[in-house]
Symmetry: C2
Subunit: 328 residues, 2 copies
Amino acid sequence: MSDIDRIRAAAARLKGHARRTPLLSSPFLDRIAGRRVWVKPECLQHTGSFKFRGGYAAVSALPDSVRARGVLAFSSGNHAQGVALAAAQHDVPSVIIMPSDAPALKIANTRALGAEVVLYDRAGGQSREDLGERLQAERNLTLIRPYDEPEVIAGQGTTGLEIAEDAAQLGIKRADVLVCCGGGGLTSGIALALEAEAPGLRARPCEPEEFDDTARSLASGTVQRNARTSGGLCDAIITPQPGDITFPIMQRLCGPGLAVSDDEALHAMALAWGRLKLVAEPGGAVALAAALFRADQIEGDDVIVTISGGNVDADVFQRALAAHGALT
Amino acid sequence: MSDIDRIRAAAARLKGHARRTPLLSSPFLDRIAGRRVWVKPECLQHTGSFKFRGGYAAVSALPDSVRARGVLAFSSGNHAQGVALAAAQHDVPSVIIMPSDAPALKIANTRALGAEVVLYDRAGGQSREDLGERLQAERNLTLIRPYDEPEVIAGQGTTGLEIAEDAAQLGIKRADVLVCCGGGGLTSGIALALEAEAPGLRARPCEPEEFDDTARSLASGTVQRNARTSGGLCDAIITPQPGDITFPIMQRLCGPGLAVSDDEALHAMALAWGRLKLVAEPGGAVALAAALFRADQIEGDDVIVTISGGNVDADVFQRALAAHGALT
């Protein structure tokens, strides 16, 4: 099956299950960016992020007998909740392996969505991969990878089909589509959808400074790693390096990456709050930050950005409002 | 023209101008309420509240030659911005009379949407009505009242048409529809739409405690006034008393009113933030608060609530998160 056929098939399975999100805008954001800014609010997706699309696409693609045995994911965040809810909606078990020092809220949310959460001791050197292999073998579970997995990429790509449809409706023929990028599942999925449906739109990955592995990989032509993968404010999108499957797709189809500071991500969160009435998490606000504060690196009269906000922390949000909540 | 025909005509004029908002839900909110909670997110409407619907309906209903002279509104909040944007979209002038001690952000936002803002000295005893009459006479402007105005009620009523349509799609035949209520424009508009399109759904006004003039008016059968109209956290929906046009409609069609505390409104704001990724202002969160914390006063397996958030203050929002942001 071709990539675009896989995305279209995922879209057909997601219909009536994933939310069909719109493109939103605000004259106040347009003024800051110096062009029209169109926001794809995946924070309104089930579980608060586009990860539900990929989780649902992957779970629904499994043969019935395989799916019935259950699915497995490694994640401390949005992917966990996307897979957990997708499994619950298919009435099959899900096991999520999370570090024991993950925030209590994320663990509680994942359990509340129906998953069995298995904790491992990250500090004590326990290997989550060993634990995962043991669980897979014992219980015959299917591992759902967060991005290096064709059905997950296809699920995230349904976001791109919707962007293409709405852009056509709005008469937008050429524009950069800025995508919050971790391992590249959403970015590569959107890029594939746009290639087929809206070739004048170009996906570009957006990352936090110091964790811009994808931008550096695209610039150099070879996969670059982050110096560290912990300690970043934008934790939702920090991965060691671009994926083995996602990177060649991004290399073929994407424009240059963009990187923003943590403070710019917080500022974008405050503007999404005040101007769009939407809640983004730091990693889900980097594309909006790039549209607003890296306008000189973007071309055209329009720019389209994704935002998401699955697991936003109250303290971090208050920090964003304290620093940037006065919108005048 | 009958009330429902006026609402349908407003819906036809609003098509492509107002956002068609969905019904959102979260399993976490359902658990608190003990029933399914469906949220109509009018915070995603242009200017952040349903007031844009009424403003646009009223401005678009004027004869061309009358509209061309411009419109006038008294408001320090959401109605001002709704009318300002609607006038700008019709390319006609708008004059908004606001108290000189209104928050700078509200004044700036209203100006940014294209309005001429005329300030009056509330403390110094200047009468805004006298000022308004003088401006109307001098410049031949048409006054757009915030709720006691049939076209405004019809515009807000388009919210009810959408609720009826989505409820039918979801198979919801009987449910209370909880509406954040100030002067009663949205509540009466929704009630009229439901009467025609979904007679099993019943609108109920929701207010802050101490400012529950509509609930008391409905209970007693005669119009009751609030003891005071300032100093409330839920300022967006505090009015002296129900409207002359809206009250008889609410009396004929609405169920009993519900009242919540300021702290419950803040709690509902925090839950909308964490569970729906939506930004509500205190007055726009009272219906959600009633669904969550007055469950014993509600009947049925489903409840539908409106939320809005046009002019939410960063300090108030931080207060909501500090008190209730830990969602566990």
